[in-house]
């Protein structure tokens, strides 16, 4: 989230897409309700914030929304594109914000183009883009870059009239997204869409603000990154980024999935979103030159780019200690430089090809979590060994029991290492709003369970011993790793938290800010965005100065509660908050200030800006200090599938793409089977006429709740939700057993027949959506009550083995199936 949970109470309009907060985040949903019940909020004359929910199914969130729009899965770019078009055509955007705080005025390079569904530079053979034209025209003298380099200065047109300006290109791009077109793609009736557009259009006024809330309903598509970007573009045009009550707010899945991401759970990043080095990068100069954002305007601070080296060197010093020296480039050569994509699906793709010896699964179950679970099961069967670290047996630790598996033919050796559940350890949770909150251990570890980090520490020490005894190809990175803990076999969460924060090696004192990190090897930071969380004053994540005394703990009344836990970065509660104030430093809406300039300093939230930089100083930095442009980006040159979001159909779709029938799907979406020389297994509408989408329910947390008896009682078995009209056509009655099947696999579950799912009319054609709650498997309390009944309960048996071009996120939320009654 750019903002945080409590901040949602500040919104006038809450636009929810691809999310179901009432079910997935019931506790956070209280802030939606507070906004709704607050008579000072809302568009027009007030009377409570308006909640608008666009979703394929009428969920518990829709039940509490003011307006519900049934939208076809995977078409949110068309929805947001339509809203962008409405805002641009009717001049409802926040003019001063767009001119000064976005890259609307940047002039795009000659050669950039978009025709028939393709951006310039497409290569059909490699299914990839040459992105060199997705950039800016340059002019004048180059700007100084990092030591000894220069950077080109971008050309701008502050009138926004140049046909090659980002603004005009954007306007042209979205002019195709008329209400008619939006309706024919999304299935939302024109009148309903127009009524939402009117409400949203009001939110470009400086005294109004809208928040956009999303979750994996936008992420889990081959167009996931662009789906999210299309919403962010709308927020930039309305001037809602950086403001209390505004922003782009991703609800994160688990209690700590935000912390996971921050600490590099994803293959392409190092802790703190530093890029993973690539082959060919011989030293830090090479690495920083390729990885750090570059400044394209003299008024851009480019804080991230400027400090990139400081952050990286401090990380290397944390990892390799004394072995990281100026002379050896701080051991940059120890860091792996993967030559190929190593994202989630890629791991199992490699295993399928027999290129993977073993896999360690920690806190997740591959069989249930990934797309195309039957193929994942084959991948697991190809391994020599599989280690599962979990609190409970999972569909992976017992994958040989899956339907269709012949255990006698599987050679994979499986090791189950019982691990502590989070209630059995202390540590921190980082919530969706980036608050790192320290928690205590509730009960001691049960049975043989050990902490995950103790297992890893033990494993490391044994590997190190083997290298010591037997040597090996490249032992240095293993031998050099520092584990500066009292007991290196049993590091405490407290020690790790201190290490993540980092210290000044000269004084031994904890660092207080990442702005003080250095590239000369005198500072450490295990994750620079957390620097400041554990200072000489102690563990700030433990702070609990909350609603006991709102007057003292929340003096602005905006809900920042600076003394509650700690929020990255630097305890800032709203990111990009310089954009909450106008050019002179006055809040756009005095009733909802983020930060403001009082003549000598910025007050309010922790400023996302130099604290004493006078906004009226001609040399003042632009507001978005982390981007090279210094502004929010309506046009992005850093993505693989296009600088401006475009609607593409899901890989399996029931209809043509009305915008460009010849290029229906994302041209660079990653088709794993095809890339590996295996046949694609995509269903067509003739055999699989219904759209399916997967989701979780309130009663469930991933898969662990399969082991909680009271929650199993609340949702006792697997089911699918069928539209009443479709069930009628198929002779399926409520509660009947049904078989749902795709080109890849099948489910055999009960049917819940409901009007909450209904037919949609898409370009004149009737389209049904089937809802598939994902939770159950062949393991767990409910499954073990009746193993025959629960054989085919893994929802991901149905989903396709494809990924988004940028993130390689699978397409869980839109694919084709068929359904029939059993017996």
């Amino acid at each position: 989230m750019t903002n945080h949970w409590r901040d949602i109470k500040n919104a006038d309009v809450i636009l929810i897409n691809g999310a179901n907060p009432a079910e997935a985040h019931p506790v956070g949903f209280r802030w939606f309700m507070r906004a709704k019940l607050d008579p000072a909020r809302g568009p027009g004359s007030g009377g409570g914030a308006k909640i608008i929910h666009a979703d394929p199914r009428f969920s518990r969130t829709s039940a509490n929304a003011d307006q519900y729009l049934r939208i076809r899965p995977g078409t949110d770019v068309a929805y947001f594109g339509g809203l962008i078009n409405y805002v641009l055509q009717n001049k409802l955007f926040h003019d001063a914000y767009v001119k000064n705080y976005t890259n609307a005025s940047w002039i795009v390079k000659q050669g950039y183009d978009f025709t028939d569904g393709l951006f310039s530079g497409y290569n059909a053979q490699t299914r990839s883009y040459d992105v060199s034209t997705w950039n800016y025209e340059t002019e004048g003298d180059p700007l100084p870059g990092p030591a000894g380099t220069t950077q080109a200065k971008a050309k701008r047109d502050m009138t926004l009239q140049d046909p090659r300006s980002v603004f005009q290109l954007l306007k042209k791009h979205y002019s195709r997204y008329t209400a008619d077109v939006v309706s024919s793609i999304t299935g939302i009736p024109i009148l309903e869409f127009e009524s939402v557009a009117r409400t949203v259009g009001e939110m470009g006024k400086p005294d109004k603000v809208m928040t956009i809330v999303y979750a994996v309903g936008l992420t889990h598509h081959t167009t996931g990154v662009q789906l999210i970007r299309s919403a962010a573009l709308l927020q930039l045009l309305l001037g809602n980024m950086g403001r209390p009550g505004g922003g782009m707010n991703a609800e994160r899945g688990h209690a700590n999935i935000q912390g996971n991401t921050d600490h590099a759970i994803s293959w392409e990043i190092l802790p703190g979103y530093l890029k993973i080095p690539a082959p060919g990068q011989k030293d830090l100069d090479d690495y920083v030159a390729v990885s750090a954002p570059k400044k394209s305007d003299p008024h851009s601070w480019n804080f991230f780019g400027t400090n990139y080296r400081n952050f990286m060197v401090s990380l290397l010093k944390t990892w390799y200690g004394d072995k990281a020296t100026k002379d050896n480039e701080f051991a940059f050569h120890y860091v792996p430089k993967p030559a190929t994509n190593s994202s989630w699906i890629s791991i199992y793709d490699q295993a399928l090809r027999g290129k993977m010896e073993g896999v360690i699964l920690s806190g997740m179950t591959a069989t249930s979590i990934g797309p195309d679970s039957n193929q994942v099961l084959q991948a697991l069967s190809n391994l020599k060994w599989l280690v599962v670290m979990d609190a409970f047996p999972t569909t992976s630790s017992e994958f040989w029991r899956a339907p269709g598996m012949d255990a006698s033919k599987i050679q994979t050796e499986v090791f189950m290492l019982p691990c502590t559940h989070w209630i059995e350890k202390d540590g921190s949770f980082v919530n969706s709003g980036r608050w790192s909150q320290w928690k205590e251990q509730v009960i001691p570890p049960q049975g043989d369970a050990r902490h995950d980090h103790w297992i890893l520490a033990d494993l490391y020490s044994r590997v190190k011993k083997l290298y010591q005894q037997q040597s090996g190809k490249f032992p240095d990175p293993i031998m050099a790793l520092t584990l500066d803990y009292k007991d290196p076999l049993k590091p405490t969460a407290d020690e790790i938290a201190q290490e993540i924060n980092g210290k000044d090696l000269a004084t031994g004192k904890q660092m207080t800010s990442f702005a003080l990190l250095k590239a000369d090897g005198t500072t450490t930071a295990g994750d620079w965005i957390y620097t400041g969380s554990y200072t000489p004053d102690g563990n700030l994540m433990k702070r609990r100065n909350g609603i006991q005394d709102p007057a003292k703990n929340d003096p602005t009344g905006m809900g920042f509660y600076a003394g509650w836990a700690w929020s990255w970065p630097l305890n800032r509660r709203v990111l990009y908050n310089r954009a909450s104030a106008d050019l002179d430093g006055k809040p756009w809406d005095p009733k909802r200030p983020g930060i403001q300039w009082n003549g000598t300093t910025w007050t309010g939230d922790v400023p996302d800006y130099p604290p004493t930089m006078n906004p009226k100083d001609p040399a003042a930095w632009l507001p978005f200090i982390m981007t090279g442009e210094g502004t929010g980006r309506l046009f992005s040159k850093d993505l693989l599938d296009g600088p401006i979001p475009e609607h593409y159909e899901p890989i399996e779709s029931p209809v043509d793409n009305v915008l460009h029938p010849k290029q229906a799907t994302d041209p660079v979406a990653f088709l794993y089977d095809q890339a590996a020389g295996r046949p694609n297994r995509f269903g067509t509408v003739a055999d699989y006429p219904y759209v399916a989408t997967t989701y979780r329910l309130t009663e469930h947390e991933h898969y662990v709740t399969q082991n909680v008896p009271l929650l199993v009682g609340l949702q006792p078995q697997a089911f699918v939700e069928l539209p009443e009209e479709l069930a009628g056509e198929k002779g399926i009655k409520n509660g009947d057993r049904v078989r749902v099947f795709s080109k890849r696999g099948k489910l055999e579950v009960s049917a819940l027949v409901t009007k909450r799912f209904g037919p949609m009319t898409i370009a004149g054609k009737k389209v049904y959506t089937i809802g598939i709650p994902i939770h159950w498997g062949f393991i767990g309390i409910a499954a073990e009550r009746d193993p025959d009944l629960s054989k085919y309960w893994v929802a991901n048996a149905l989903t396709p083995f494809v990924g988004d071009a940028n993130s390689r996120t699978p397409e869980f939320k839109a694919f084709l199936v068929n359904v029939e009654r059993i017996g």
């Binding site: 309700m33 518990r60 969130t61 309903e192 509660g735 409901t754 909450r756």
Partner: protein
């Protein structure tokens, strides 16, 4: 929380902001150590609990009222009316049928004006189960006694609010002194009515249902939708039902007359035969 005063307390369950998360059901079971019944898939929307009974002292009803074949469900059908969720509970009636019929005086009214079953006095006769108009009470085979919501009497005695209210994320279940709750409910109802929700209504706020309910509700539909007796039916025979008695007497007289007439007509037809 400071110690509670010995004043009437209750629940105000505002169904217009219930999100059907069932946290109340789980918190209740956790605090009161209820196992719950054996898991059973009912295919009744998202309700697999079924009813209030000895194992379920909070029960969230899910009532789907989605209009047919609409591509969209716009105002005012969304906004708490198309999929009704209502966390049901013992009403702690002012005129409590269970308390009236209990032969052992196991069911008492507490210092907080709530209705409480004393487990050590209950003899398991189950008269209260038959008497309760809301189907709240259930029999536990293991203990041989009847059970229902205690409004977390043990928590109240220690100055804590009931577990369900504590767990409710949207404050749909509010616990407090009854007069405060009445005021909050009146304000909320007025707001909803101003917003055009004409069918929003309070249930049990006044004395029309069993003399008033300490656990009362804001409903977004008529009481019958939730299986609740409406004002005309929610009366206790022993005290309030003069018209009922009169009606009964009239029926009896009419019945007698009808019998006599029937007997006569049958005798006459016999004579004719």
């Amino acid at each position: 929380m400071a110690a509670l005063q010995e004043r009437p307390v209750g629940f105000f369950t505002d169904t217009s902001i219930c999100i059907g998360c069932k946290a109340c059901e789980v918190a209740c079971k956790e605090w009161n150590q209820l196992e719950g019944n054996a898991p059973h898939f009912t295919a009744d929307s998202f309700d697999n609990t079924g009813q209030l009974d000895a194992q379920n002292w909070r029960h969230v009803q899910f009532i789907e009222k989605i209009p047919d074949n609409k591509g969209t469900i716009g105002t005012p059908i969304a906004g708490g009316q198309a999929w009704l969720m209502m966390s049901d509970v013992c009403k702690h009636c002012q005129q409590a049928s269970c308390l009236e019929v209990c032969p052992t005086n196991a069911i008492v009214r507490t210092e907080f004006d709530t209705v409480f079953i004393q487990q050590d006095v209950c003899n398991g006769c189950r008269d209260c189960i038959a008497a309760c108009p809301y189907g709240v009470i259930g029999f536990n085979e293991k203990t041989g006694t009847v059970h229902k919501c205690t409004m977390c009497y043990d928590r109240l005695q220690n100055g804590l609010q009931p577990a369900c209210a504590k767990a409710c994320p949207t404050e749909s279940i509010k616990f407090g002194y009854l007069d405060d709750l009445h005021a909050a409910a009146d304000t909320r109802l007025a707001t909803l009515q101003k917003q055009g929700f004409a069918q929003a209504q309070l249930y049990g706020r006044d004395t029309s249902a069993y003399g008033g309910l300490n656990a009362f509700f804001l409903l977004m539909d008529k009481p019958e939708t939730f299986g609740l007796p409406n004002a005309a039916n929610a009366t206790l025979p022993s005290r309030n039902n003069v018209p009922g008695y009169l009606g009964g007497a009239v029926t009896a007289v009419l019945g007698l007359l009808a019998g006599v007439l029937a007997f006569r007509s049958s005798r006459m037809s016999g004579e004719q035969r």
